[in-house]
């Protein structure tokens, strides 16, 4: 702190310390290198002062007194003594009290070796107990959900897990129960701690009361090696990856101020089980005879050598290029790779093969110019106290769990006003200042009214299904706070509509952004909330049609890059839908799937199926065989998270490191190496010997990344944010035309759930069973009109298909709208989505 007015001078153990206004004494002391023991205090949660371990002598002008340093704010001239006789006696006393009823089972406790209570006892505790009475007994341990066990005998009632559940996750499903020395943490009977975030309670438990089922008895802390890394999700959550004997055993969140504050979703935290799965691909596969001979028409995928697989792949690509030209080769996917992997593939595909038919998104994202061509917000900007967030994206609680936690904190604690501009309620709705739940595909009209200052609600008093007065109130609130940052979180709020309506809405907000910026205010910035781990890196590295590495278009940057790469595609290629259509029409001979599963993921399942049928050679690079790669002709086993080295780009454009700690199964390789090898066989020498080599080339080749050197990434704990872009958002020429919904139909919204049928998720045994089954959710008003009991199976009919599924009432779904999840394991609802229309309408038959 350089500003004098923002410094509070205190003395800690005789040393002058510059503290920040409002800072707790315990935090100021810790920054000054004085550790005050504590159990209940956690810097990311409110202080409760329960454990009393951190009581120290604090003199704020009225003489020293024992006070909890986690609940006393620093004040000018304050004198803190953490070493006084009185402090020592009190802390020894608290430690003794905590140990009275704590079992002596450290040797069999998962926490042993990394336990604050154990550490404190070893350092300061009495040698033997003066407590000769019977210890408190509880049944041990009990599951609070299928992932977390609770041993109430070990619990010291610090309130961390219960506070986390309530304050941080907003899922107060574990609470203190009973009273006094009988107090325990527990759930309501038969109502488990069903939270996407429950694993965090294990991480923050200061004793071994909470243990994670996937980690129980797997290792001791001293057996673990660890690296700090970045979990490859859109948030780029910072993690520590811990392994023993070449096997990943645990992920722990890292408290990154800019990103995840130490939190992880359970989906990510326990995904190491998939990495370690027996079903991982460990050897290249080809169509062949049982003896391993190549047989392109063979029904079996058989193991083969890398040399054989690469040769076959290179031959197929060369053949296709020679036969029909480079555009007969297409690539889908790549959004789960590291930046280096993506770059190497981009260079191979665009610079060597020469095709621009490349798309890392599967028609479920946003055009690159929306992502790269608008002022980008950071997560911290969106959480600026007093600011405004306009949520125009799928439910962050389902899709970007740790972003949900950050937003939740911002709204609850920092007065951020949330305006929801979504077609249905989200996990944040109950916190939203304004809920503008519009008719599907009509976001643009609502956005225009929100920022346009002119609300003409028409005869029914609504715009896009949103009452005019609600819109007026939201518009006034937005204008009121225009002196603070406004952040639009933008994604695809429904997979049952095209991206057109969302892009139209973005155009309206972008127009307003310009107006605001003209007034010298912080204005509007956009935070893209897209599906798939490193989709932002994929766009930055050029894995999209018409795009080159470094946020530059093929048109603008093609000639410059051609000099470095030797060649670039002649013309912009097709996106995922275009590629699959071309394939179905016989124009694609080789289709490369980079961790992509169009059969399972692409909204138009029929098209995906027809495309895969028609393609001559499918080459896949993946961790597992998925429905699509199972139909490939050549499969490369790829290195996954924890097995590869490189960098990741999150939704903000933040580049941080992914680090390797274990070897990949069998002969699986990093994707950058596969691309490099394939390029070599096609006659191009990239000269890459390591991901660092790749990054070095990226900083030379990619205009936006010129300043993002290895050193720059490592210079700050939170990596480096890439801000430059030469892409400009190009507003659509005319608004997407949305048909009227007839009186007998309901308009469909379909969104992803966090627990789904995804290949990786389904290979995590601890989680897979938690994926819910599909239900059709209707507003209670519409539900009552259907006239059946909740959970009754109804026939759901669209103009492309029909499915039977249970129907339930859900007040989070607006009237006239029907909602179902996109990715349930039991029922593939894509059969109902009309891909030839902007929206899909449904009818229900009982």
């Amino acid at each position: 702190m350089s500003d004098r007015e923002t410094v509070v001078n205190i003395t800690v153990n005789g040393q002058p310390v510059e503290a920040q206004p409002g800072e707790w004494v315990i935090a100021a002391a810790e920054r000054a290198g004085v550790y005050i023991p504590h159990f209940c205090y956690h810097p990311r949660m409110s202080s409760v002062g329960m454990c009393r371990m951190c009581i120290v002598d604090i003199d704020a002008g009225r003489g020293p007194a024992l006070q909890p340093s986690c609940m006393v704010e620093v004040s000018e001239g304050m004198v803190v003594d953490t070493t006084s006789e009185q402090t020592r006696k009190a802390q020894d006393g608290v430690l003794e009290f905590l140990l009275l009823n704590h079992p002596l089972d450290c040797p069999v406790c998962d926490k042993g070796g990394e336990c604050p209570l154990q550490d404190q006892t070893m350092a300061y505790g009495p040698g033997e107990s003066r407590f000769i009475e019977e210890k408190r007994h509880f049944e041990k341990p009990i599951p609070v959900n299928s992932l977390v066990y609770l041993d109430r005998e070990r619990c010291i009632l610090c309130d961390r897990c219960t506070r986390f559940a309530d304050e941080v996750a907003g899922d107060p499903l574990i609470t203190f129960q009973d009273r006094g020395d009988q107090t325990q943490v527990n759930t309501f009977p038969d109502l488990p701690f069903s939270s996407y975030f429950s694993g965090n309670t294990v991480q923050i438990c200061p004793v071994g009361a909470l243990t994670a089922v996937p980690y129980r008895f797997k290792a001791r802390p001293w057996d673990l090696t660890e690296v700090e890394s970045t979990y490859p999700n859109p948030m780029g959550d910072r993690v520590v990856v811990q392994a023993s004997r070449d096997q990943v055993l645990r992920y722990q969140g890292v408290d990154s101020d800019a990103v995840n504050w130490g939190w992880l979703t359970d989906k990510d935290r326990f995904s190491f089980e998939a990495t370690a799965s027996e079903l991982r691909l460990g050897s290249p596969l080809i169509r062949g005879t049982p003896l391993g001979r190549p047989d392109p028409g063979g029904s079996e995928l058989v193991e083969t050598s890398w040399r054989q697989a690469l040769t076959l792949a290179a031959d197929a690509i060369r053949g296709a290029v020679e036969d029909k030209g480079p555009q007969s080769v297409a690539v889908l996917g790549g959004a789960r790779l590291t930046n280096e992997d993506q770059y190497a593939w981009a260079r191979l595909v665009k610079g060597v093969i020469g095709t621009d038919n490349v798309d890392a998104q599967l028609d479920d994202g946003l055009p690159a110019d929306v992502v790269l061509g608008l002022p980008r917000a950071t997560i911290n900007r969106s959480c600026t106290p007093g600011g405004t967030v306009i949520l125009m994206a799928p439910d962050p609680k389902e899709e970007q769990g740790t972003l949900y936690l950050r937003l939740r904190h911002a709204v609850v604690n920092d007065g951020v006003q949330l305006i929801e501009l979504t077609p249905r309620a989200t996990g944040l709705s109950h916190l939203a200042a304004h809920r503008l739940h519009h008719r599907p595909a009509e976001a643009a009209a609502v956005a225009a009214a929100l920022v346009g200052g002119d609300i003409d609600a028409g005869p029914d008093g609504e715009i896009g299904g949103v009452p005019g007065d609600a819109l007026a109130a939201a518009a006034a609130a937005l204008a009121d706070r225009a002196d603070k940052p406004i952040t639009v979180i933008v994604g695809r709020p429904s997979l049952a509509e095209t991206d057109g309506p969302t892009v139209d809405a973005v155009a309206e907000l972008a127009r307003f952004a310009k107006l605001l910026a003209a007034g010298g205010r912080p204005g509007i910035a956009f935070l893209p909330a897209l599906h798939r781990g490193n989709v932002l890196g994929a766009l930055d590295m050029g894995l999209a049609p018409g795009l080159l590495p470094g946020r530059v278009s093929l048109d603008d940057g093609g000639s410059a890059l051609a000099q470095l790469w030797g060649a670039v595609p002649a013309a912009p290629g097709a996106d995922a839908r275009g590629i699959l259509k071309a394939a179905a029409n016989g124009h694609i001979d080789v289709l490369v799937l980079l961790g992509a599963d169009p059969l399972g993921d692409f909204p138009d399942q029929d098209l995906a199926n027809a495309a895969l049928e028609a393609v001559g050679t499918i080459i896949a690079s993946d961790l597992f065989l998925n429905p699509s790669s199972a139909r490939a002709h050549i499969v490369f086993p790829a290195a996954g998270f924890g097995e590869r080295q490189g960098t990741h780009t999150n939704m903000e454009g933040r580049v941080t490191r992914e680090r390797q700690i274990v070897t990949s199964p069998g002969t699986a390789r990093a994707d950058w190496a596969i691309a490099t090898e394939l390029a070599r066989m096609l006659g191009a020498d990239f000269g890459f010997g390591s991901p660092e080599d790749v990054w070095e080339e990226i900083t030379r080749v990619a205009p936006s990344h010129r300043d993002v050197s290895q050193e720059a990434i490592d210079a700050a704990a939170d990596g480096a944010v890439v801000a430059d872009s030469s892409i400009a958002f190009s507003p659509p020429e005319g608004p997407t035309s949305v048909p009227h919904v007839d009186a007998y139909s309901l308009r469909l919204v379909s969104t992803r759930r966090m627990y789904d049928r995804g290949t990786l998720f389904q290979h995590v045994p601890s989680l897979a069973k938690l994926a819910p089954n599909a239900v059709l959710a209707l507003n209670p008003y519409d539900f009552d009109r259907v006239g059946v009991d909740s959970g009754t199976e109804v026939q759901v009919i669209s103009n492309v298909g029909e499915l039977d599924m249970p129907v339930v009432a859900d007040p989070g779904v607006p009237r006239g709208t029907a909602a179902f999840g996109y990715n349930h394991p039991d029922l593939d609802v894509r059969a109902l989505i009309d891909n030839d229309s902007v929206v899909t309408d449904l009818r229900i038959q009982t």
């Binding site: 002062g49 329960m50 009393r52 006696k89 003794e96 009290f97 009273r179 006094g180 107090t183």
Partner: protein, 445 residues
């Protein structure tokens, strides 16, 4: 105005003998709601001024001047709430229940006056859960008062003054008598105290808003104060302990009872021994010890009998008047059992929030229970004191504490008092084989 004779001094218990004093008719007939009418003729700040002038000390236990406490609301922050603490649970304490049962309108009137004076727009009357009769008397009185226009919209027809009183009741937890725990409980939560600061109710109280928490007896005094003036109230009692106070004298006395006496001038000897009060020891018995202010208070002995029932004097003598509960023990008393009884109370009533109280009070109870069962060890007596020291460092009065609220340190009072005075009685419980030599060891090494 000179101090009235004791017999005239029934200020807040004046209707205890009026058959229908709890009804609106009986209340109005005996001068009820005159204070409210008087208050409404005054500016709110002037009503506050009268309470300040009266030097009315809070009657809940801490004895803080109510008028001063009222002044702690941060200016300009609205709404503000009034919470009436009728969760009377301190062992030996027994006055608020009678005030609620026998003169509910007096309390309601007091609430209205406080709301008027301070701009409190809603009042919550928190009655202890176990007091079913008090709850129904208050419910009936509130229903009458609402319909008669004393409470609710447009009090007494005033266009600008409306106040709601919501009758609320607890469900069995002593700690809820602590004002921040009371607020937690009123918010539907577990009654676990909040740290003060920052959670002084006057600044951050119910729903995070400025909240005045006053005891039943405190508020019951307001009608009289407003009707008769703060000066008249201050003229009664002593200089610093003004007005009257209601004391319950129980235990080994001839005529236990609840007595309203001049505050600060009456002595312990008078209230325990005078025939008009508790009437002295039972025949043939002598005084062994007495608790001057509820179970939390350190015990007093023969030599304290001539102290006046006056806050400062009692504080300086090492105890407190607390909640107005005097519990008398005669020479038949087994002090170890009495001590165990009081400690057990605190152990059972600990909310469980702070480690020293949660673990410490039940440990103390277990040690005492073991001693009573004949399984004491010589070192247990020093252990008791050291555990006490870890809950209340120094074992001084007023107590310091390693906890948020004073419940844990309250369990220290009986042990410190009894062990200091009657150590031999504890030692007598130790098995004969145990060598009664004790050391003053600290934490075992």
């Amino acid at each position: 105005m000179s101090a009235p004779a004791p017999s005239d001094l029934r200020i807040i218990t004046s209707r205890f003998d009026v058959e229908d004093g709890h009804t609106l008719a009986g209340y109005e007939r005996t001068g009820g709601y005159a204070g409210l009418r008087r208050a409404l003729e005054m500016a709110p700040a002037d009503v506050h001024g009268e309470v300040r002038t009266a030097s009315l000390l809070g009657r809940g236990g801490a004895g803080f001047p109510a008028g001063v406490k009222w002044g702690f609301c941060p200016p300009g922050v609205w709404p503000r709430y009034l919470v009436v603490n009728g969760d009377e649970s301190e062992p030996g304490t027994y006055k608020d229940r009678l005030l609620m049962e026998r003169d509910p309108h007096q309390l309601i009137e007091g609430c209205l006056i406080a709301c008027y004076a301070l701009g409190l727009s809603q009042c919550f009357l928190y009655v202890r859960g176990e007091m079913a009769h008090a709850q129904e008397r208050l419910a009936a009185a509130l229903n009458e008062a609402y319909e008669a226009g004393y409470v609710g919209a447009n009090v007494l027809g005033a266009e600008d003054f409306s106040v709601d009183i919501t009758l609320h009741w607890g469900a069995g937890a002593y700690i809820v008598g602590e004002e921040t725990a009371l607020i937690e409980s009123l918010e539907g939560d577990r009654g676990m105290p909040r740290l003060k600061p920052p959670y002084f109710p006057a600044s951050i109280g119910l729903y995070g808003k400025p909240t005045i928490v006053n005891n039943v007896e405190t508020l019951a005094n307001l009608p009289w104060i407003v009707s008769n003036g703060g000066d008249a109230f201050a003229a009664m009692g002593s200089d610093s302990s003004t007005g009257t106070r209601v004391f319950a004298v129980s235990g080994h006395v001839a005529t236990p009872g609840v007595f309203e006496v001049p505050f600060g001038t009456t002595t312990f000897r008078e209230i325990i021994f005078d025939p008009q009060y508790a009437g002295g020891m039972r025949p043939g018995r002598t005084l062994k010890t007495f608790i001057p202010g509820g179970a939390s208070a350190p015990w007093f002995f023969e030599e304290h009998l001539d102290l006046p029932l006056e806050k400062t004097t009692v504080d300086q003598a090492g105890s407190m008047l607390g909640s107005g509960a005097i519990v008398v023990m005669d020479d038949t008393t087994d002090v170890v059992k009495a001590c165990h009884n009081v400690v057990r109370f605190f152990a059972r009533e600990s909310c469980g929030k702070c480690t020293p109280c949660r673990e410490g009070t039940s440990w103390l109870e277990k040690i005492l229970g073991r001693i009573l069962a004949g399984q004491g060890r010589p070192q247990d007596l020093d252990l008791l004191m050291d555990v006490c020291d870890n809950i209340s460092p120094g074992i001084n009065w007023p107590p310091r504490q390693t906890t948020i609220c004073p419940l844990g340190p309250s369990a220290v009072s009986p042990i410190a008092s009894a062990l200091e005075r009657f150590r031999d009685e504890f030692e007598a419980y130790l098995p004969a084989t145990a060598v009664a030599v004790t050391t003053s060891s600290g934490v075992a090494s």
